[in-house]
Amino acid sequence: MFTYYLRNNLRNKTFLFWCLCFPLALMLCFKIAFGNLTTVDTIITLDTAVIYTGENAKYEESFQTMMDNLTEGEEPLFKVHEYSSEDAVTKALIKGDIDLAFKVTDGNVEVLLSNSYTDTACAVGRAVADTYMNNYTLIEDAFAKNPMEAMTLIDSLGEEIDVLVPAPSNFVDESPNPYIWYFYSSFVMGMLFNSMNGVNMVYDIKADVSSAAMRVSVSPSKKSRMILACFMSKLVVALVINIVQLFIMKNIFEVPLGNNYFKLGLFVVACNVFAIAFGEVCGSLMKGTLDNRENKVTAIIMTSVFLSGEMIASLPGFLELNCPIINDINPATVMNMAFYRLAYSTKDFDFYTNMAKIIITAIALLAISIVILRREKYASV
């Protein structure tokens, strides 16, 4: 009976596509689309130009000294280009030859950006100009208030202070990559599609739903063995699919999965049991043809998956801030949270909290589904 159900599952191409291929295809798309995002924000050497239009030679000279410092070294912040006039600089900006330009007048530095400026050019240009202007004002203040101290102050301005240090990371990476959520979410979505298997199980076992189940019902086999064989066959296929996906995630998409295979195994088994049991309960309680029941369960799963951030990764964060109860009761979010804490976070407590939620719900759903499937009697068979 186990082999029969197993073969049935393996012949179900639609199921194999949605559970195995579709999540992997999505992950491939994510890898291509988001692979470059972390490098986009990284500061690289910016092409710039400086225009001097003022009469304060000292102000211009100090700015030039600062720019000279910023153009030195192996990875300089700026590469300065020479232009004959302000018009030429404007044209170069519009054409995209330079990222930004500084216009230095008496006591003021203006940052010029093209209409298609990058965030990096804007942030770096502003930070450099602000620092220069503020330091210059500070020195002027110092000479006015305490000329003796001013010279010491000028020297100390060259010394860099750094009061900001990274906190001990709660993540496996120093800076967490939020786009990793899309991979976890796609994997969880694939597992939740196993609910279709649960609906199919109702179709395989309940005699008032299909002729195949009616035929099985009159066989001398024990109902409990039948349910167990059917359930295990679906669980085994789901686990094999997940192992393949996890292997691809780790080795091809380079998604962190953590190093604790026991926890990973526990997570995958619990989530699949939950998904199949959920499908069984929904399939038993809903009315209509197999397609109708599957469509209704798909609608529930897709809503859950949407709220868990499959389409908009920051949505669970938005909900966490404004309505955390949704995250607490949404199965896809609870699974995603468990997966990301298992694979990406260094803290164990939250992972086990989420696992407890999944396991308790899975056991409850399983118990309900067994009661429905095993206890139901049919007058005619």
Partner: protein, 398 residues
């Protein structure tokens, strides 16, 4: 006419696909409007007019200096106090990028700063890498402020005066000017972003609606039982195919008209529609033609509705990801974009990008617009020709 009416009766019976994509459209619109309204700055990157990072903090020091630092940072950023949140919640909010930068000011911070170099450090966590512009900018703001405070203390000011002077000094910012050869009216920035995004998602949505909404009807029409029944009637043999194509085109035009309606009703006062409305209309129309051609091709090759759903999802999602529908083109790697040039969606997105430069960073260029739309049209013609060939081969085979 009878067959044409029947086509739409079948569409009505297979309306699940249209409903699903209709719901996706509504959800996308609602999410876009919600996210743009809640954080307009982020939606289009940082703004040249104003610094705006979402920074969260916990002030364990509660001193003159720490308060002044938070006050100063609040001038140009949005500061949120997270002292009521536990470590796990903060960790989640950092991971989901709800806060760009979370910093924790340690107890005794002010005292340590006054003592000179042995200062206690502010710890931070952020999704942004240490080399990102956000880290650079915030780092420069915090360090600049602390340095100014230290210097004012050295000059003989007391704590409160030094903190206040440092705040005044640091809030005097450089002017940022955007130079451009085109005039940009940014009065409706949020609406412009929403409209630009609606047009960005349009290729994915129309392909889904045509293939999953109308494609199932074509597959049903192509079934042997139906075509045999039609063939016994007094209609020419090519009529089923013609009705399928006509029905598809009419459906495409209706969906295009609805999208243009949304553009005109919601975005009538936006720069995108006022200045480049004709580009949006033409670009989306040609995109609709190429999506009709793709649908024709898929329905000529595929006989089963389930396989059509699978193929559509793969084709639609992958083209959308490769061509910059879901992620702005400027974030996609150059190799991926080179490959994407061989896909019709690339040209739709490319032309659409030029309708709102401040968001997409692509300047409007009429020549490039014409080239883009022409290539898109060529895709439609070539795909339609292949679809015709595949359909006639299938008919001969049957």
């Amino acid at each position: 006419m009878h067959l044409f009416k029947m086509f739409f009766k079948l569409v009505n019976r297979n309306k699940t696909g249209l409903i699903i994509y209709g719901i996706i459209t509504i959800v996308m619109l609602a999410s876009l409007m919600m996210m743009v309204n809640s954080n307009a700055g982020d939606a289009a990157g940082i703004s040249a007019e104003k610094k705006s990072y979402d920074i969260s903090y916990i002030d364990n020091d509660d001193s003159e200096l720490s308060k002044a630092l938070v006050e100063y940072m609040d001038v140009n950023n949005t500061m949120t106090d997270y002292s009521d949140k536990n470590e796990s919640e903060i960790s989640n909010l950092v991971f989901f990028d709800i806060t760009d930068f979370h910093m924790e000011i340690p107890e005794g911070f002010e005292e340590a700063i006054e003592n000179g170099k042995d200062y206690k450090e502010i710890t931070y966590s952020s999704c942004e890498g240490a080399k990102s512009y956000i880290s650079y900018d915030i780092d420069s703001q915090v360090n600049g402020f602390i340095q100014a405070y230290q210097n004012y203390i050295k000059l003989g000011y007391d704590k409160a005066e030094a903190a206040s002077k440092a705040k005044d000094l640091m809030t005097t910012n450089a002017t940022l000017t955007v130079v451009s050869d085109t005039k940009t009216d940014d009065t409706n920035k949020d609406k412009n972003i929403v409209i630009a995004n609606i047009n960005q998602f349009y290729p994915y949505l129309i392909l889904g609606m045509l293939t999953l909404g109308i494609g199932h009807t074509i597959i049903a029409n192509n079934k042997k039982e139906i075509s045999d029944r039609v063939n016994v009637g007094p209609v020419p043999g090519y009529m089923t195919q013609l009705i399928n194509t006509l029905g598809l085109m009419v459906s495409g035009v209706i969906i295009w008209a609805i999208f243009m309606g949304i553009n005109l009703i919601y975005g009538h006062d936006t720069e995108v529609i006022k200045q480049y409305g004709w580009v949006v209309a033409l670009n989306s129309f040609v995109c609709m033609l190429s999506c009709c051609a793709i649908t024709s091709l898929l329905t000529s090759l595929i006989k089963n509705s389930n396989i059509l759903s699978m193929t559509t999802n793969i084709v639609g999602l992958s083209m959308s990801f490769f061509c910059g529908v879901f992620v702005p083109m400027r974030f996609i790697g150059s190799k991926v974009l080179t490959f994407a040039k061989f896909l019709p969606f690339y040209w739709t997105v490319y032309v659409n990008n030029m309708t709102y430069e401040p968001y997409s960073k692509y300047a409007f260029d009429l020549k490039q617009v014409i080239i883009g739309i022409s290539i898109e049209f060529l895709f439609a013609v070539v795909l339609a020709a292949i679809a015709l060939l595949a359909a006639s081969k299938r008919i001969i085979k049957e």
